[in-house]
């Protein structure tokens, strides 16, 4: 327990200490890692794994600071594209914030498929936002009317 002068002293429970401000004990709450969203990360966001240099259609992409949230969403879109032969994702180790996404296609370059999936997911988000905002406005209006009538 902290009292005065920064040293651990056995303080009797009912001794009234003056509120003399002395050396403060600074306690920084432990956080696992700082995730500064606004600054640029030291590692690149996407990297390609080696082994697929002989063609453009097969790639494994390694995403940093991503996991199941983006991985499963992207995989479920890519797996239903017509030219895709294989699509799967994995989080190699839960302690590391990396996500591997593998795309194998018949003819389209894998990078183009990934770009298309990101664009599609982005448009899905736009549509979800638009629909949700409309519905919330409708709900507020209809409930506002109900409250006026009732």
């Amino acid at each position: 327990m902290s009292g005065s002068a920064g040293t651990l002293s056995l303080s009797l429970p009912f001794v009234y200490r003056s509120s003399h401000v002395s050396k403060a004990v600074v306690l920084k709450m432990a956080t696992t890692r700082a995730v500064p969203a606004d600054s640029t990360p030291a590692e690149p966001l996407i990297v390609t794994l080696t082994g697929d240099e002989d063609n453009e259609t097969d790639r494994t992409f390694v995403f940093t600071n991503e996991g199941h949230t983006l991985g499963n969403a992207l995989r479920s879109i890519i797996a239903r594209y017509p030219d895709v032969l294989f699509c799967g994702y994995t989080v190699p180790h839960p302690a590391e914030a990396k996500m591997n996404l593998r795309i194998q296609a018949f003819q389209t370059p894998a990078l183009d498929i990934l770009k298309r999936a990101l664009t599609d997911l982005s448009q899905v988000c736009d549509h979800v936002k638009k629909t949700f905002t409309e519905r919330v406005t409708e709900f507020k209006q209809s409930n506002g009317e109900a409250m006026e009538m009732g």
């Binding site: 327990m1 902290s2 009292g3 005065s4 429970p13 009912f14 001794v15 009234y16 200490r17 509120s19 403060a24 004990v25 600074v26 306690l27 920084k28 709450m29 956080t31 696992t32 890692r33 700082a34 995730v35 500064p36 969203a37 606004d38 600054s39 966001l45 996407i46 995403f63 991503e66 199941h68 949230t69 983006l70 499963n72 969403a73 995989r75 479920s76 879109i77 239903r80 594209y81 017509p82 990078l111 990934l114 770009k115 990101l118 664009t119 997911l121 982005s122 899905v124 988000c125 549509h127 979800v128 936002k129 629909t131 949700f132 905002t133 519905r135 919330v136 409708e138 709900f139 507020k140």
Partner: protein
């Protein structure tokens, strides 16, 4: 290839609702949202026509990637209470703050706290004996002053120009009656706290939702008419409002009124006379979302934030990919 399975009694059966080829047009046709209930703290709405991965992405983002403000550094000047310094700090960190994270930036690593990314608070409280207590009382509230430390004792210390932008009620704790510590006469707590922006990935105290969860819409099908006494037993074996008993042809008959309120208890299986005629399953693409806000941000804004976060991920990654190629 991805499939969307119908969960029925007999096991997974592929649902025809999800087309095998992905198209934005098909998604837009099938997608809908229905708001069921909304107040300041809680919201229940249905999301129809999404795949499990997308619904789960929104839920995961709500829990861990929508930022909020919480106390992250404590300068402890005096703590003679029985609560240890670190325990007190842990409790202080968990107190939800009303400050809107959109008005603040993330504090950069190693940079000193500034008015753009930090809020400063202080808590100074001393427990004393109440000399004007009625004689022979045993009520703690009469015997002592300030023996319970509540979150209403946390005072905001504006930094720089913050007092022109916010008021104390905009940035203080969401609830005034959160019990932080208990003290006895002679004990004193004095500390200064710095609050900053973070997200749930880092520490659960930054999660803006009490919890955000979803469940699938149940379906109940009666394959044979269940009448008489069995109808009432069937009604009792489900939650109220699920099964209705109507008069048909002079006898009471069970009818599925609203499968939404089924809680998945499967109590109907206890009755061997009608257990095999009740088919219980789930609609594979109808999600009933419940968002309970901690109090800082309204639930509808939270969902919009989470969609924004997912969109930002896509945009940033696309920019990165286009930059390299």
């Amino acid at each position: 290839m991805d499939r969307n399975y119908n969960l029925t009694e007999s096991g997974p059966v592929r649902a025809p609702s999800m087309p095998t080829k992905w198209s934005l047009k098909a998604f837009k046709e099938m997608f809908d949202i229905k708001i069921v209930f909304k107040d300041d703290m809680e919201m229940e709405f249905d999301v129809i026509g999404v795949e499990p991965s997308l619904a789960n992405a929104f839920r995961r983002i709500l829990l861990s990637e929508v930022p909020s403000i919480a106390i992250k550094e404590v300068h402890m000047y005096m703590n003679t209470s029985v609560i240890q310094d670190e325990v007190l700090c842990h409790r202080i960190g968990l107190i939800p703050l009303k400050a809107n994270p959109r008005n603040f930036e993330m504090q950069q690593e190693g940079a000193p706290p500034s008015e753009h990314d930090t809020l400063e608070f202080e808590l100074r409280i001393k427990c004393t004996k109440n000399n004007s207590a009625p004689a022979k009382t045993t009520e703690l509230a009469d015997l002592y002053k300030n023996h319970m430390v509540y979150s209403k004792s946390i005072k905001w210390l504006p930094m720089g120009d913050q007092d022109k932008m916010f008021s104390a009620s905009d940035v203080g704790p969401v609830f005034d009656d959160i019990l932080i510590a208990k003290m006895r006469p002679g004990q004193e707590i004095e500390m200064k706290m710095l609050a900053g922006k973070g997200c749930g990935k880092d520490h659960a105290k930054y999660s803006p939702v009490c919890t955000a969860s979803y469940r699938l819409m149940p379906t109940i099908e009666l394959t044979r008419e269940i009448d008489g006494d069995a109808a009432y037993r069937l009604q009792k074996s489900f939650s109220p409002g699920v099964i209705d008993v109507v008069q048909r042809g002079g006898k009471p008959v069970a009818v599925v009124k609203n499968a939404r309120y089924d809680n998945g208890s499967r109590n109907h299986m206890l009755h061997s006379d009608f257990a095999s005629f009740v088919k219980v399953g789930r609609v594979p693409d109808h999600y009933i979302f419940t968002i309970e806000s901690v109090g800082a941000i309204e639930p509808e804004e939270l969902f919009l934030e989470s969609v924004d976060v997912l969109k930002a991920k896509c945009t940033n990654l696309l920019a990165e990919l286009n930059k390299n190629s």
